[in-house]
């Protein structure tokens, strides 16, 4: 297996794990962990798209064929923004807990029936 195919396979498996966590989690924290896992898988996917076998990092002066710098620029900002989004989600979790006194999705009033 080449480096890229391994990386793509890992990204897909982690994405599906995160999706499973998001759908089956009854605890709100578990759902946020699922979102975080999906985000990590997506970052891995985008970075792998720009990977060149035997490439060097995109720093001048170049000592060989560089990898594609464009996905790096995309993901770099996405990581910081992802962290702030997760913080916002956790803020909602804390707020929900202070209103409903529970973290169980199925016990939260208004989401069922």
């Amino acid at each position: 297996m080449t480096m890229s195919s391994m990386s793509f396979a890992a990204a897909i498996i982690i994405f599906c794990t995160g999706f499973f966590t998001l759908l089956t989690g009854r605890n709100l924290f578990r759902m946020v962990i699922g979102i975080s896992l999906m985000e990590g898988a997506l970052l891995l996917f985008i970075i792998t798209v720009g990977y060149v076998p035997g490439g060097v990092p995109p720093l001048l002066p170049l000592k060989g064929l560089p990898v594609n710098p464009l996905p790096h620029a995309f993901t770099l900002t996405t990581i910081v923004i992802g962290a702030s989004h997760i913080a916002l989600a956790l803020a909602f979790v804390v707020r929900i807990h202070s209103s409903y006194k529970t973290l169980d999705v199925e016990k939260i009033r208004g989401l069922r029936e």
């Binding site: 966590t21 896992l37 990977y51 006194k101």
Partner: protein, 338 residues
Amino acid sequence: MNPALTGFIFLLLIATAVSACLMKDILSSVIALSVFGVLLSIVFSILQAPDVALTQAVINSGMITSIFLVAYSQTMKVRSGEDNTRVIKTYYPFRTDEMVILFICIGLGFFLWKGIVPMGFSSLSGDAANHYINFAGVETGASNIVAAVLFDYRGFDTLGEIAVIFTTVTGISILFEGSRYHRSSSGLSFIVRRSMAFVIPLIILYASSIVLMGHLSPGGGFQGGTVLATASICFCVVYGSSFEAARIHPWIKETLESTGCLFFAGLGLIGLCTGAGFLANGAAGFPLGTQGTFISGGSIPLLNMAVGMKVGAGLSSLFYSMVKILEAPFEGIPGEVE
């Protein structure tokens, strides 16, 4: 790199992700998620993306874990009349609906893989990437091509993305409006406090070197700003939660954050005034300098500083908004009233 070792790291990555999903205790899951993030940063450095690896490492070890732990501790406070039972999940054996979801996820993964195979695992390289690689040194004067793309070619995107951080900080501040600082931890022992006093200046030095050398080496405003925010989280952990609130007023952080944003926009407007376009670098008359020296890259180091201020103050105030305790509107909290 040795393929066997690479495969082992990928296996570890998948194993930590699955354990973050399956572990019964939320706290264990959070720690597994943290390990997952650090392993992901190792994978990024194997994939020749040092900038992304640095960002992922500082964000995961510094920010996400601590924010998770703060939220966890805020929800686990025992108050009267509260359903404090942990939702403990038993995955073995799976329930019927979980089996259905498991099959849906496996099917999703299968079709995603089927979609990737026709791409032939070849890297995507378009004209834009080739242009950046060939001409970034001449056109921007920066050695780090990623920084050149972030702050010169696609500077407008970056402005939008720091605006997203601003929106998030605003949202969290609104959610926790009316809550107040509370002495939730009194800090660690004397030895840790004294050692931290020696370490904190070095952390801040490291953060500023990351910010200021962003155009020469992997790093930049996003990474350095996050390290700065991590230093302020260290204050909370080591010296107690009321330490920083008493010394650094939130107003200072707000001012720093707004100044960073305005600085960024103002540098963009200079380009507009000279007729070269918003966020123009060399064309707007910024001296590009000699590539590879400290004074080079035109407006890129200045934009890095602006982003560093913005991200550092933003993430720090985001953390401290969550440290503030929520006031329960209908009941007094016994033993916790100041």
